[in-house]
Structures are given as structure tokens and as C-alpha cells.
Amino acid sequence: MKCPEQELIEHYIQGRLEPQALSEFEAHLQTCKHCQTIVAEARENEKLLIEIRTFEKTSSEPRELSSKEIYTVDQAQKLLGERYRVIRKIGEGAAGHVFQVADTVLDRLVAVKFLRKKDATKDTDSKRWHEARLMSQLNHPGVAQVYEIGEIEEQRFIVMEWVDGLPLTDAWKDLPIQQRLNIYVNVLNAISAAHARGIIHRDIKPSNILVSSDHKPKILDFGIGLETQYLSGVKQNVYRGTPAYTAPEQVTAPIQIFPSTDVFALGILLYELLTDTLPFPQTDHKKLFEAIKTQHPELPSAIRQKVPISLQNICLKALEKDPQNRYSTARDLADDINRYLRGEKVWSRPSFLSDKIQQEVFYHRQKLKVWRDNELLTEKEFDRLENIYERVISPPDLSIIEARKLSFSQVCLYFGGWIVVLGSFVLFYKTWVNIPPFWRPIPALLATGLMIILGLAMWKRNESRLAVGFLSTANLLVPITFLLTLAQWDLLSPVNYPWGTESISGILEQMESYVIVGNVQLYFSSLCWFAFSLFFLHLTRSSIFVFFGIISFLVWLTSCYIIAGMIGPVDTFNPWAREITAGRYLYPGIGFFVLGVILDRHKFIHYAWPLCMVGLAMIVICLSVIAISDATIFGWLLRWKPGFLNDYEIQLVSLIFNGLIYLGLAGVCRSLGTRLQRTLASILNWLGPIHILGTLRILDSDGLNIFGSHKIVYRILLPIASVGFVFGSVVRQMKSFFFSGLAGIATAVQRFTAEYLKNYFAWPVALIITGIIWMLVSWRVPLWRANRLLKRAK
């Protein structure tokens, strides 16, 4: 045999010779020195070639060779066998090498990831299949699916869904912000699903999120993902992740990982979405980590002018340095993005902004105090500015602000709620003879239950605006539904209880209703209403439930009074009748007021002001009713000499006493010193003089059969009191005193003119001259005083 061609040698080296040819070749080789040399060289060449191939394939990311790992298409194919046809290698991740593979049986493309070997023998099965387990647990359309796991020749691999798409930032390169946001929200949903199952991805970056041509993103590579239950096992000093998408806590020893660690990476993606740049563009790792830990990124709106401020705020909140200040999970972040997409107001503020505001406001407030002390600001202006600053630095609860805002959607919500309440009320007061009693309250019961469930669900999902809407509707439905159910199902009915006098049946009868409602039923319904109000208040901390609470408490109190027989029987039920002792409501009113004052002093101003306002209103109304009813508390004071004062006089003099009480109360409020109390004081400062001067004027009018001598006393008291108020206003700059005093003087002048001086021309002239003299005196007197002081000084 002559020396073979190179082709034969090549096939021999690669072990591809047929048995016949092989034996012939080997026989020749034993005799031919030349061929032996060539084959030896060829073997050497082949070794070199493997080295070259390895370096070529990994030239950008050179890696050490390891016989344990699967690097090439050939190696992968050899392992996977016939079912899978390996097409190409698509990359290397933190945990292994990934190939695109055709599954010839199921006729689909899959991705196969060969895992790197790390102490495989020590690990339990669940640890070894960590990534596959995390991904299959998720089963979310936004996360690539795991089809199969396998192990051949100690080489583990995961067969996964093949995702044909571009990395996130490439995919949205030419899209407008709105479309980018749609993709981004889908990413958030997938990560939220992971967070909901207690899984933290830890390596969120554009190349781990592939976006298909129909803009559906898929999350890949849970290779370094973590389950929150194993968080304590995180090695304290091992950094894992991608530097540019690293959260501060990942590079601050001891390393801590939270779901909000993912939120930080998502914040970086949002920043890229808005600006097409990285918030921390440093390429040098040292500088990059320093920036991540200490620097605030440039504002997106400074890079792109059209960036919506709401989105900017959301983005900066996601990029907070302190995980506590960030959105705690991807769900919270998604909620705010959805809020933005729905056109609602987003209230999130990055903490550094509010820190800055707090600082500025602190200095401003210090200045305000100085200005007030230097009388550059009046007390009132100071209060008003303080009020505004207070709102700026500690805005009330989001739910309150959102629920108070009459946006279109909010008005729709309340409108719907009101219709439900009205529907239930119609159900309540009409008699539905065609429907069996059992079914009559069912719609209202279902509506109430639905409102409560929806409200609680919304609250859990942080949709506080909707939650307050649903819960306040539920709160209005509770008493109606309770009364309706108790009445129709004949529970706690008046017949069974001796003290169950029907109280509101009278009112219902006037509304052409034949539902019989007893006081006991009213008692329990209002008690439930009160309980629900307190529960909703406890849950939402929205002051609307303080109002509901007060009203329900008053209804409950009324039912107590009726049951106790302290308020008149049904047929004469009239809240303004004199038999009703308004004093019974005076004490709860005082109670509300005092409670409000206490809460106010403990900075619970949101709860304090409704309590104080309602308390004050009840005090004023009750004192007024007491004054005009027979059984007044002043009655016995003034009836010390029977017949000295007639009936009307007693009532009116009582009102003057009320005015004095209000002035005293105003003094108390003012001395308490908070802003709310100062507001109450200014209201009382109007009520006091109006009660006193107005009543004095009425006492002097004709037709009240008051003794002439008494009338003269009142007639003289009016101008004296008025002048007293006018000059009393000097002390505390009280405009209420000043203006009501002026009005009092005007009525006194009118009264004197009509009574005594209508024919004397000198009277108006005297008034004019007196006025001029007063003005001159007020002009000159200070000058004289000043001169005298100067002279004394000399």
C-alpha cells in the first residue's frame, strides 16, 4: 500500500474510518515511518486546534477550560442524543451555557441550559434544581416556562421555552413612551408574580428580559434567584448581580437582599425607559458602586424635557437608596404605574425631595415666627401660612386626598355609591307585598356585603381611593340594611320587648311606608353602624369615618334616650318640641369637643377637627335650645324673683348668658394655642358679640310686653356694650368684636333716634361733630403723648 492521502489521515484521526479501511491503514502505519510522523503531527495539530477553537469561541469572554462543562455544540449534541438537535450556542449565563435546540419529537424550538457544576454531590435535589424549580413554581406568561429537567453523565440541564425576541432596551428602542410603558408593566407583572411567591430575581437587566415581536416580555435566568425564606442563608460577602443594575444594599456589607432589591433594578429600567440612558453611567466599578450608594441620579426631566413628572417621581422612588423608602415589591411599583396610565394622580414622592422640602420649610417656619414676633405678619396670616406649610410637609393620608378630590372617576364612584344607597333606602321604606319577607332585604344585604368585600380588597391592593369610595358606601348601607333586615325578618321586634316603642315608624308612616321599626332594632342597627365606622376608621384612617362615627353615635344615643323614655313618645316626636331636653345632647357635645381637644393636642389633627366642629355645633345648638325652652338651666337662676322677668325676657337673657359662655369658651380655646383651637376661638368670637348685642336689640323691641323700665336698661346697655366691643377689639386684634360693635352702635343710634330724638336737628349735627372731635383727638393725642415723653426724656 502506498502512503495514503491527507483525507484518509484526517478521517483516521477523527475516528471516522470504516473497519476495513482502518485495518488496512493501521497495517501500513506500522511499516511506514513517514506516515507515523505525519499521524503524530496530525494528533498534535488536532490538540492545538481544540485550543484555538475554544479561544476563538470565547475570545470576547475567555473562560477557563474545564472538562466538566459543556462548551460546544458538538458536546451538547453528544449529550442530548437523538431527540434534540442542537442548532447553536446562544450564550453563557451566570449558571451555565445555553443552546438553541430543536425538539424533533414535539417539533418545537427549545432552549437548553447546561448548568455549571458546583459541589453537585453535596447538594440536595431541591438545591441542585434551584433555578428550574423557581421558574416552574412561577408558571406565569411573563416567565419562560421549564419543560423538562435532566441529567446525563453528571451533567445537569434544563429544557426551557425558546423565546424569540430582543433584549428589553433593544426592543423598545424606537417605541414611544406609552408603548414602552405597556411592555414595562408586563415585566412588572411577571416580577410581581415572583415576589408574590417569595422569589427574588436578583439579576434583572435588559438582556434577561426578552421581548417578542408582539411586545410580550419574558423573564429569563433565575440562576441567582432567591427565595425569601432562605434569605438568612445569603452569604454575607458574596456579590452577585450585574454592576450597572445593582442596588445599594447589594454592595454594602453585610449584604442584604429584599424584594425591593429587584425594585431598584426595575427603577433603573424605568430610568432607561424614560431617558435611554443609565442613571449611573460610570463604567469603572469602584466609581459606579460609589455612585449607586451615595449619589442621586440626574433628574430624567433634565435629560428629556417631555418626561412626565409623575413617572419621574415613580422612577426616583424606585431608585431610593434606602430599601425602606422604595416600593417594597414590584406590585406596589406596578400599582403606581397603572395609576399613571389611568390618568390618576400619583402621590409618590422620592424621599430626597420631601427631605429637601422639610428642610426648606423648617427654615421658612423659623422665619415666619420671627416675622410674627416682629409684627410683619398678623397672627391670622401666620396661621394661614403655617397651615399651608403643614400640608406641604405632612400631606394627609393619600386615601383622604384621593377620595376628597372630585375627579371624574371619583364623582362617578360616589354617584354610583349614592344610587346604591338610595336603592337600598327605597327597598327599606316601601312595603313590597308581592315579595315574601325573607327575600325583601336580600338585595340590600348582597350590596352591603359586596361593597365591604370590594372595599377591603381594594384597600389590600393599595387602591385607597377606590377603597374609601366602596367603604363609605358600605358604611351608609350598613344601618339601612340592618334596619331593613331586622324589620322584615321580624327580629328584635317591638312586640317582644316592652321597651321597644316604635319611634321612627311615625316618620316612615308620613313617607307612606308601612314598615314597622322598633327602637330596639334602631338601637342595634346604629350600634352596628358605629362599630363599622370605627372599624373602617381604624383601617383607612380617613376622617370621613369620623363623621360617620359621630352621626352613628348620635343616632345610637337617641335610641338609648327613647328606650329609656327620656325623649317623648312616638306620636309627639318632634326634635324641636320644648319637652325634649336638649341638655341630654349637651354633654355628648362637650364630650366630642373635649375629645377633639385632646386629639388635637396629640397631633391627631385629622380626627380632631371633625370632633371639635361637631362638638361645638352640638354645644351651640343645645345651649340655644335650652335657652328658648322652659326648662332652661338659666331659668331657675333668673326666676329668683317670680314675675320680675316675663317668659320672653327670660329666654332672651339666657341667650345673652350663652353669648358670655361663648366668649369664655373662646378665651379657653385661644389659651390652648393650637391652630385648630384658634380657628374655633375666632368662630366663638363672632358668636359671642352677635348673641349679646343682637339679643339686647331684640329685648328693646316692641311687642314683647317687657316692662318699660327694663327696656330702658337694655336700650342703654346696647350702646355701652357695643362701644365696649369696639374698643375691646384693640386687645387681641379681634375684627369680630370691632365689626359687631360697630353694627351694635348703628342699631343703638337708630333706636335712640326713633325713640327720643327724631325731631331734634341738633342730634345728627351733634353726632357729626362728636365724630370729627374723636378723629381729631385720635390724630393729636398720640402726638401730644409723644411730645410729653420727649420733654420728660430731656
Partner: protein, 194 residues
Amino acid sequence: MTQWVTTTQLLEDLKTTHDESAWTEFCSHFQPVVIEFAKKLGLSNVEAEDAAQETMAAFFKAFKEGKYDPAKGRLSNWLFGIAKRITLNLRGRQPLEKLIADKATGTSFWDMVQDDRTIGRTWELQWQQMVLKKCLDQVRQEFDPKIFGAFRHYAIDQFAIEEVCQRFDMSRNAVYIAKSRVLSRLRQLRQRFE
């Protein structure tokens, strides 16, 4: 394209010529190896360059003082000793969180480099890669583009033999011969380089 030189020649030049060119030539060969090595050990680009410069300077000083004797060991080993000392020293000065390696894959530095043996292997790989790259550049210059192209397509990129024959209009045997010749020359060059 740089001229083909061997390490012996580079060192010889360094010894005999006293201008900057020999030094620049020397650095252009070995500095990239140190940079890549330092990066693999977790230094940033800038720091890796610093490390490489420092290594070169330290080597130059030792060389001028006549401390390096080619008979005692490879240039590679000598440089490795210096590069390792300087890089680890630089790395030791860094905070913990900086000790990461691979930006693209997020692989932890600690996963890769754990002991002296691994560090040595990392260096060896960088060195081999540099040498292979130089040799490949050289054979590309030496051979006919058709021959080199056939070699590259068939041997490195693993195209099917029929495709390579068609593209370069060569017989199968010619392609196999091209592969064999280029590889033999590569081996020769590599041996000579060190």
C-alpha cells in the same frame, strides 16, 4: 501588523538597545496579558491598566538589574510572579463589594478565582491566548489567503467540507492539506515564540 518576534528576541532588544522603541515593543506584547489577567481577578479597566503598567515597570527594573535569567525559567512565569503580586496587592486595597468580575454575566469573582492554582491557570490562559493570537496573525500573513481561508472555515468554524471545497474551489484533499500545513506552522511558531 507587528513583525514576528520571539520573546528571546524581545529581551535581547531590551538589553542592547537603549531607546524607547524596544520598551514599547515589549509592552505592546505583554501589557494586554496583564490587563486581562488583572481584570479576571476583579480589577476595573482603569485599575487593571494601572496594574499592568506597574508590572511592566517592576519587570523593567528587575531586568535592568539583571535579576531575570532566561535559563532559570520562562518569561511568562517571571511576569506572572510580578503581575500576581501587584494585582493582588491592588485588589487587597479595595472594599469587598468591588470584588466582582464579570459585568455581562454577573458571575461572582469568588466563584472563579479561589486559590493560587486557579490564579496560575488564569494567567496561563491569558498568556496562551496572547501567544495563539500572535501566531494566528503571523500565519495569516505567511499563507496564501485561499489556504488560510479554507483552514479557518473548515478547521476553526467547522463548516462542512463540501461547503468549504465549493467556496474556495479546492479538492477535499487540498483542504485537509491546508489544515495540516497551517496547524503545523502554528505549532512551530508557538514553540519558537517562547
